[in-house]
Structure formats: C-alpha cells, structure tokens
Subunit: 135 residues, 6 copies
Amino acid sequence: MKTSITRRVTFSAGHRLYNSAFDDAKNRRIFGDCANPNGHGHNYILEVTVTGEIDPETGMVINLKDMKRIITEQVIAKVDHKNLNLDVDFMQGVIPTTENVAHQIWEILDRAFGEGLLENIVLHESENNRVKITR
Amino acid sequence: MKTSITRRVTFSAGHRLYNSAFDDAKNRRIFGDCANPNGHGHNYILEVTVTGEIDPETGMVINLKDMKRIITEQVIAKVDHKNLNLDVDFMQGVIPTTENVAHQIWEILDRAFGEGLLENIVLHESENNRVKITR
Amino acid sequence: MKTSITRRVTFSAGHRLYNSAFDDAKNRRIFGDCANPNGHGHNYILEVTVTGEIDPETGMVINLKDMKRIITEQVIAKVDHKNLNLDVDFMQGVIPTTENVAHQIWEILDRAFGEGLLENIVLHESENNRVKITR
Amino acid sequence: MKTSITRRVTFSAGHRLYNSAFDDAKNRRIFGDCANPNGHGHNYILEVTVTGEIDPETGMVINLKDMKRIITEQVIAKVDHKNLNLDVDFMQGVIPTTENVAHQIWEILDRAFGEGLLENIVLHESENNRVKITR
Amino acid sequence: MKTSITRRVTFSAGHRLYNSAFDDAKNRRIFGDCANPNGHGHNYILEVTVTGEIDPETGMVINLKDMKRIITEQVIAKVDHKNLNLDVDFMQGVIPTTENVAHQIWEILDRAFGEGLLENIVLHESENNRVKITR
Amino acid sequence: MKTSITRRVTFSAGHRLYNSAFDDAKNRRIFGDCANPNGHGHNYILEVTVTGEIDPETGMVINLKDMKRIITEQVIAKVDHKNLNLDVDFMQGVIPTTENVAHQIWEILDRAFGEGLLENIVLHESENNRVKITR
C-alpha cells in the first residue's frame, strides 16, 4: 500500500511558443495561435504529489504547511503574474510548452523535496489540456 | 416570467495593467503584480446571456448556433491567444482590467445581438474573480 | 434585503429535437445534430431557488429536506433515466429544448411550492449551455 | 448598465444545527443529521459582489486587493477553521444554518464596504446547497 | 521520469443498457433505470493520455492539434449527438456500459495513435462515475 | 490492458487535529489552525476505484449499484454529518488527518470488496488537498 498527498496551487502567466531556429511560417504551422508574437497567457493549475510513510506522531506523510511553503517559494513566486519567456530564470532557452514548463518545475521540486519524495506533478494549461510528469 | 439562455465560451489572453499617466511606483501600488512590464495572462471564461420569448415553432429563445457564431466572430476571434494590450483593436487606450474588458465586450455584443436581447455578460478572469455587466 | 436558497440536483435523460411540422431538411437546418432520429442525451443539472423570510425558530427559509422531496417527487422521478420525448407526460407535444424543459419544470414547481415561493430555476444542458426562468 | 465584481473565497468550519428551545426529538425532526450533538462541518464558499462605477483612472470598480483584505479581516479570520456555534462572536445566539450565517456575514460586509456598495453575497454550504442575500 | 499529455473532450450521447439474452425482469434487476426501453443519455467527458519523449525542437510529446484531430475524427464524429446502441458502428453487439464504450474507444485510439503512444483513457459518464483503461 | 471503475461520493464531517501526547504549543505548531479545540469541518469527496475483468454478460467490472451500496453502508453511514474524533468507531485513537482517514477507509473497503478488487481510493479534504491510497 502506498500513500500519497497532493497539493493544488494556481498561477497566472503569459507565454509565447516559438523556436528561433524556425522561420515565422514554420512557427505558425507548428505552434498555431500560440506563436502570436505578443504572446497570450493562462491560469495554470499545478498539482504536486508526494509519497511516503505516515508519521504515527502526526498522522502526516508531510506537513501541508511545509509542502505549501516549498511550492510557493520555489515555483509560484517565480512564475505567478510573470511572462514565462522573459521573466523566469529557469525557462531561459526553453520553449514554454506545458511539457517543458512541467519538466522544469519537476526538476526544481524534486531537488527541493529531496529523498525521492516527489511522485508526480500535473500542470494544467487549460480545462482541456494538461501534462503529468511521473518519476 | 422571463426566460434567458446562457452560452459559455473560453479564451486565453495576455495582458498588463498599467496607466501610462502613473509612474512605475504608482502603477505597482495600484495594480500590484498585474503591472509586471512583460505581462502575464489568463484563461478567461465568458458567459453571455440573452433574454426573450420562446418561439413556439422551435422551442428556442435564440438558436444556440447563431449565438455561438456571433460570439465567436465578434469576440473570440479577436481576443483568443492574443495580447489584450497590443493585439486587440477594441482595447486600444483602455486598461485591460476585467471590468474594462467586460464593458468593451458588452458594447460589441449588444450591437451584434441588437433589439435589447443581451441581458448580461459575466467575464471570469480566474476561479476567484469575475465581473458581471447587466443591462 | 432578500434571502434565497438554492438546491442543485442532477438527472440524465435522452431527447431529440424536431418539429413534426417541418420536413427533415428543415429540422436538420434548425436543430442540427440534435435532430438525429435516434436521439442523444445529457446529464442535466437543475438549480431551484426559493425566496422568503427566515423563520427565527429554525433559521431556515424552507427546510432543505422538504425542498429536496418536492423536487424529487415532482420532477426527478419523472425525468431521470427517461426519454424526454417519449416517457415524460409533461413533455408531450412540446419540443424538448432546454428552454421548453425548463418552462415545464417551472410550471410544476411553481404549483408545488405555491405562494410565489419559487424565484427562479436554472437548467444546464451541458457545461456550456443553460436556461434560466425568473418570475 | 450596471457593473459588478465578485470575489470568491473559501473557509472550513464546524457547526451543529439545533434550537435549545426544542427537545431532542424535535431538533432531530427539523434538522435531521445536522443536529448531531458533536457537530460536523463544511468547506464553505463565499462569493461577495460589489457594484459601482468604473474609475477611469484604474479601470476598477474597487481594487480587488482592498476587497480581499476586507473579506479576510472581517469574515475569514473569524470563521476559518472555527466552530461556528462556539468560536464565532457574531454567531452567538444564532442557529448556524446557511441562511443565518449568510445574513450575519452580509451585515458585517455591508458595514465594512459602506455606501451601499455591497450588492449580494452567496454562501455555498456544499456543492448542492447555497444561499444568496441580495440588497 | 515519464511525461504524458492529456486532452479532454466532451460528447453527448444516448444509450440503453440491456442484454437481449435476458428477460425484462433480469434486465431491470441488473441495469436498473438504465434498462428503460426508450433510453436516456449523458454528457460524456473523455480524457485521452499519450506518453512519450519531448521533442527538443518543439517542446512537445505530440502536437495537441494532431491529438485533437485524431480524437475528433476517430471518436467524437461518430458518437456526439448519437444513440450509442443504434447509430454507432463500433458499438454494434456491445452493451453500452461505460466500461464497454471506453474499451471500444481505447481500441480505436490505440490503432490511431500507434507505436504504443496511448497510455490511458478515462471516460466519465456522470460527475460520479467514470472508467479508466490503462495499457 | 487494465479496466478500472470509479465511484465518487461526498460526506460532510467535523474534526480536530491534535496529539494528546503533545502540549498545546506543539499541537498548534504542527497542526496550525486545525488544532482549534472546538474543531472545524469539511465537505469530503471520496473516490473509490475497483479493477477487474469486464463480465461479458453485463458489460460491467462491478455493478455500480453494489459499489454504491457497499460504500454507503460501510463508510458514508458512519462518517456523514459526524464528528470524526468523537462519533466514528474506526477513528478512535487515530488523529483524523486526511492520510489517516483515508487509510481507515481503505482497510474497511478492501475487506468489503474482497479479492483484491480495490485498486485505490482518493480522499479530498478541500479543493486544494487530497490523499491517495494505492494497493
């Protein structure tokens, strides 16, 4: 039996999808409206799941207060109300598709939680699209 | 008794809140993180409500296909995957707060539906904030 | 100041939209895919709102148990897991658009609650379409 | 045309419904399971709607930061993770039905916002039950 | 680490649950209200999840436009606003329980995506019932 | 290929988080507002997932009516509109964190369904926090 706990947070960010190695026509063909030069944005939902044993003294796998603090400091403070292409250090040189944003967030949170605690993250870009990273 | 029908649509857009008549400090004080120079964005939800008599031949106040076509052509095509400050003709010179975006959309849809059909619109900027315009 | 209380219930039903006075082409033109001869269906959500004074002895406008019983007996028992065109007495001779279904439900609930208690009902046909009847 | 802006917040609280003037049987008959002596609880959702003119300098009816601060200080700080019967000053001597909780919150917020700004509040006790207070 | 991307789509369809090898009483006992001869229907939600490597040139596991096109052409066009028992080729001779509909959709999408890309699909029949097929 | 079916149910309950082996300050430090002596409460959502083969005669992994009956009798009847600390036999001596409540529910349902049918359960304490138990 495995126990995991999930914390859901939200952030709003802008982005533009394009590859500078492609010309405009190819960017438009691959990224569609997401290649719009002035960008657009989303209300992202991030779900972070940690797995572990339940501490019998607290009844917790991890204290949600700690979980919330780590996610806020390491991720939300850097992306909320920001432009993912221009304002976010960990997105420099990376096309901000949902897949890539999720991967960068995984790397940050996996280091921050340590000890292989992080089991998966899910990043929703809209009510119809989401990406999951699983260890 | 009054009958109204509501169509819900979504669009994703970027924006930045600032007033060029304010200095940076005042923009930051009033608009907070929303004044970030490189902008951010949202998944907006737009709910459009029309009121009228039910046509006994069709059982409809208005054909949803017509309602959808009008909203798509007049609003969604102009704002979806766009930057509200830079790309949208009807937002030029207007601070893109939810209130102002909703007002501009009301003006467009009120003209498009005509005859006082439009009863209200609701524009959700996030799961926690929304604006309603009522005739 | 006005106080209203809303109860949300769900039901699943089948229907087909067509007017027997129209030929097939006109039915298809007006009702689109909803005219499919073998029908289709929806998970409907019905929200019923009653307005009144708060009884100081109970702290209630109306007891939710009574509200639930009335809605279940008068509406849900007749439409849930039914075909609105063929199985439902109060829909005979009525095109089962969301507008018309809502109107018939309004008439039933207005009689059942009595004394002008019913303020409005909202019937959702899908996450994108809904109809509201207001006194 | 009327413009209103809505802020949605959540809180979790415990409560028990009973009237000390009733005997146990009557409390159970009227309040059902909600009369359980040790109480139970809910994740409440509170939606607060303010109406006004849009300030042309800010594009806002009211600054959402101010709206959030008032709601948090005046309501959420007093009810979140509390027992509505035992811990909340403004609920003393009041049966904590959704109607009554909503009325008390209305009184507090109407004073706090002032000038008739408050248009309505909606308090959701569960996904199926909610109460609306309208000026 | 594994990356998966999910696309959510909706369709509305009618169905009736019964096994022609059973008599009416047995159909009613097993399928309950779902055995109603004239059928009923649902707003189905289909979530399709594909797993793979992120293409460094596009930042994508698969282009969502392709994913959407495949799901629309192969599934939605065949079931939306249809009667699952009578109108859908791939449901002939199959009782349209959520399990069976999901299995048929899995077979179609697994062939369409190819190369073992499809990881799972989830089919929601209502807000309370859903089925998941996992490779 | 694996097929699983999920049933979603809800219940409302009160609780207080504290460990009687800790003093008040430590309880407050670890459990925060959840240590409030008079408790608070939540609308819990419980999702129960069962895995198995589809019976070709019924098209079902398990009859949802049986699934609903087991969950209602074994869990919901014991926790809905109850205080988890004081009223629930299977929570005696257990700190009612979401992790612990989920574990106790898992033990009950695993015995009730038998034969290793239960695959996982998810218990949501709020829209932002949930726990999953997987076999």
